[in-house]
């Protein structure tokens, strides 16, 4: 938008392709960027992006994290990753934090 950001836009951005996301035990996933329609909902959810204890401890917050995982995190076969699946795959709290940060980073 300004003079310093004239780098070419990759085709993957225009296609809305996701980005690779590897958790600490080496498992690999794809995180897709949020659509504009969901950005507002994400902001309203007011989730903690840093500390993940609150997101997991509170049932209501856990549902929110589940919604964003299911919507935007996919395994290598393209299956959505639920919170339950993330737990089974051995995600730790840092992985969860990194996922939310990744989602924010690639979404704009």
């Amino acid at each position: 938008m300004s003079k310093k950001t004239n780098s070419p836009t990759p085709l993957s951005t225009m296609l809305g392709d996701g980005d690779s996301f590897v958790i600490r035990n080496g498992k690999s996933y794809i995180v897709n960027p949020m659509t504009l329609a969901d950005v507002n909902e994400f902001i309203k959810d007011n989730m903690s992006i840093g500390c993940q204890l609150w997101n997991i401890a509170n049932e209501k917050e856990a549902k929110k994290i589940d919604r964003w995982l299911k919507g935007y995190c996919f395994d290598e076969e393209g299956n959505p990753v639920t919170l339950e699946r993330a737990i089974n795959d051995g995600w730790d709290l840092v992985d969860l934090k990194n996922f939310i940060r990744k989602l924010c980073d690639i979404s704009g």
């Binding site: 300004s2 951005t13 809305g16 903690s48 500390c51 997991i56 401890a57 856990a62 730790d92």
Partner: protein, 130 residues
């Protein structure tokens, strides 16, 4: 007065002419005799303003003919690329709260190793029964 933080001062390497051009592009009024620091402060203040989504939608509709509902299905990087390609200089920002977390307290089980989500979920479930 120089802008307070170098981290947020992405304009520090810009020339006076470039800063003036950027102000004009954004339709920011400035004193003709303004110094580099004055212009940088004006631009930083402008950066802090919330995005005008009405204007963003108008520009996309005007330049692309994209159906209104379709805009919401695009990602923010796509919107930025579309507006950039149309040479529309509209700052787009989304304020995501809680960037550094809402809680200061953490419970770490082992040094250098964060607890598994499963381990914490078990503890949380114990309290949900109360």
């Amino acid at each position: 007065m120089a802008p307070s933080s170098d981290k947020e001062n992405k304009y520090k390497d810009w020339t006076l002419e470039e800063l003036k051009a950027e102000c004009e592009k954004r339709k920011i009024e400035y004193d003709f005799n303004a110094t580099k620091d004055n212009l940088i402060n004006l631009l930083i203040e402008d950066d802090k303003k919330p995005s005008d989504w009405g204007q963003i939608y108008c520009r996309i509709l005007y330049h692309t003919g994209m159906p209104y509902e379709e805009i919401a299905r695009r990602t923010l990087p796509q919107i930025k690329a579309i507006l950039g390609g149309a040479e529309e200089n509209i700052p787009i920002k989304i304020g995501i709260p809680g960037l550094f977390g809402t809680s200061q307290s953490t419970t770490i089980q082992k040094p250098n190793e964060p607890p598994k989500v499963s381990q914490f979920a078990e503890v949380a479930n114990m309290f949900s029964c109360i």
